[in-house]
């Protein structure tokens, strides 16, 4: 009986976990420019793909140079077709060098995550 109860609980939780896979901590899955990558042309946007949908009012992206100087970028917004993709436009061409992208995200179920990564713009 205990074994059956355990199996039933685990099965129910597994179903619940599968059904609510869009409710969890938003973890960065992919970025353009790539995390730790090198690009040869100045990117026109920063595009971050997360594991969960974001609440854009409480999420953000910042860009800075290797020296820590902030770089002005546009206001980030979620992709209208995919609320787990967060995009910040870059209106001015970047100079060659290393840059740091810092992000914070609040998923649609209000869990918070944050992170940062670098990319390099080759001359």
């Amino acid at each position: 009986m205990l074994r059956n109860l355990t199996i039933n609980i685990v099965a129910s939780l597994a179903l619940a976990a599968a059904a609510t896979a869009a409710l969890a901590h938003a973890q960065l899955q992919q970025a353009v420019p790539a995390v730790g990558g090198t690009v040869t042309a100045s990117p026109r946007e920063i595009r971050l793909k997360f594991s969960e949908g974001l609440e854009p009012r409480f999420s953000g992206i910042a860009l800075s140079t290797q020296a820590g100087e902030p770089v002005k970028i546009g206001k980030p917004a979620v992709d209208p077709a995919d609320n787990s993709t967060f995009i910040a436009p870059i209106s001015q061409p970047l100079k060659p060098g290393a840059y740091t992208v810092t992000w914070h995200a609040v998923s649609v179920d209000t869990h918070k995550t944050q992170g940062s990564f670098t990319f390099t713009l080759a001359p």
């Binding site: 939780l13 976990a17 609510t20 992919q30 869990h111």
Partner: protein, 317 residues
């Protein structure tokens, strides 16, 4: 919490022959960019709504000819944010030796510190194992109270010149298990049927250990993209080191540190994780063969964020 059973076993009346504790489950923790996974032997410093069901432990035939299998569950409920109460209960099967439940274990835990930029966090707790809530012969007739401190440190704050080390993290746990009774008396009968009084000391035990983790999810999000199949981006390589040292009320010859080294892997999905580790005894007093432990763990705060997965009072900030 994982180590609290050890004092019971060290001072036990001898019915349970294995030295490995039942392995309860522990919470995952988030501090800054770091997500510390739930670990099996050493508690992480986080507090959240979670359920480990089941945790399965197998210990092959020991020198005394006994094979052991344990199954347990652990449920953690947050009362207010960063303060939680966990309940752990489990059963042991011995071949030969029968089966029975261990004592009920509870822990009140508070995460009091998180330095996000440095991925450093700490918590304190009070664990209690309650007498006579298990099966006679598989549980102790006394309570055990264990103050606990847990810490975690991610190395994502290292300079980018050390990128290869930034996915690395350490967690550590220190606790002191104090039995409510200094000794346990029992009547034993020899082969001739003559009864005699047996008195076993219940020692105070210092539990200590740490985990070393290397997180590919952290690498993928913060350092460089992890290529290959998607499952790699969910893997954390881990080795846990869990030790128990009797420090007080120790019977003659009993002052020896026991423990296990537990290399393994953890797969972290969005709302659950599964972990598998080997159990390698550090010396003959800790065992003679390599066992295994596995655990399925559900993040209830992610699965049910608006109901049973949120704190009873105050919500999440």
């Amino acid at each position: 919490m994982s180590l609290k059973m050890t004092s019971a076993l060290v001072g036990a009346i001898g019915a349970v022959t294995a030295i490995f504790p039942l392995t309860p489950a522990f919470a995952h923790a988030v501090c800054g960019s770091r997500i510390f996974p739930a670990t099996l032997a050493i508690d992480d410093p986080g507090v959240s709504d979670e359920l480990a069901l089941p945790t399965l432990t197998y210990i092959p035939v020991n020198s005394d000819g006994v094979r052991e299998f344990d199954a347990s569950f652990s449920y953690t409920k947050t009362i207010v944010e960063n303060l939680g109460l966990s309940v752990t209960y489990g059963k042991t099967w011995l071949n030969a030796g029968g089966s029975g439940w261990g004592n009920l274990d509870t822990e009140l835990k508070y995460m009091f510190f998180c330095d996000e930029p440095h991925e450093f966090m700490a918590s304190v707790g009070l664990d209690a194992t309650w007498a006579n809530t298990g099966t006679a012969g598989f549980s102790d007739p006394f309570n055990t109270f264990t103050p606990v401190i847990d810490i975690g440190k991610g190395f994502g704050d290292l300079p980018t010149s050390l990128n290869i080390l930034r996915p690395f993290a350490l967690t550590a746990e220190f606790s002191l298990s104090v039995p409510s009774a200094g000794h346990t008396s029992s009547i034993v009968t020899d082969a001739s049927g003559n009864p005699s009084l047996s008195v076993a000391l219940n020692p105070t035990v210092f539990n200590w250990g740490f985990t070393a983790q290397y997180s590919l999810p952290y690498m993928n999000a913060n350092i460089s993209e992890v290529g290959g199949p998607d499952f790699l981006r969910h893997m954390v390589a881990i080795t846990e080191f869990a030790f128990q040292t009797p420090v007080g009320n120790v019977p003659p010859g009993g002052q020896i540190t026991t423990g296990t080294i537990q290399p393994g892997v953890i797969y972290m999905a969005d709302t659950w994780q599964i972990a598998l580790e080997a159990l390698i005894p550090i010396n003959a007093a800790s065992g003679h063969n390599v066992g295994a432990v596995a655990e399925l763990h559900f993040f209830l705060d992610d699965i049910f964020p608006d109901s049973i997965g949120k704190p009873l009072f105050g919500g999440r900030s």
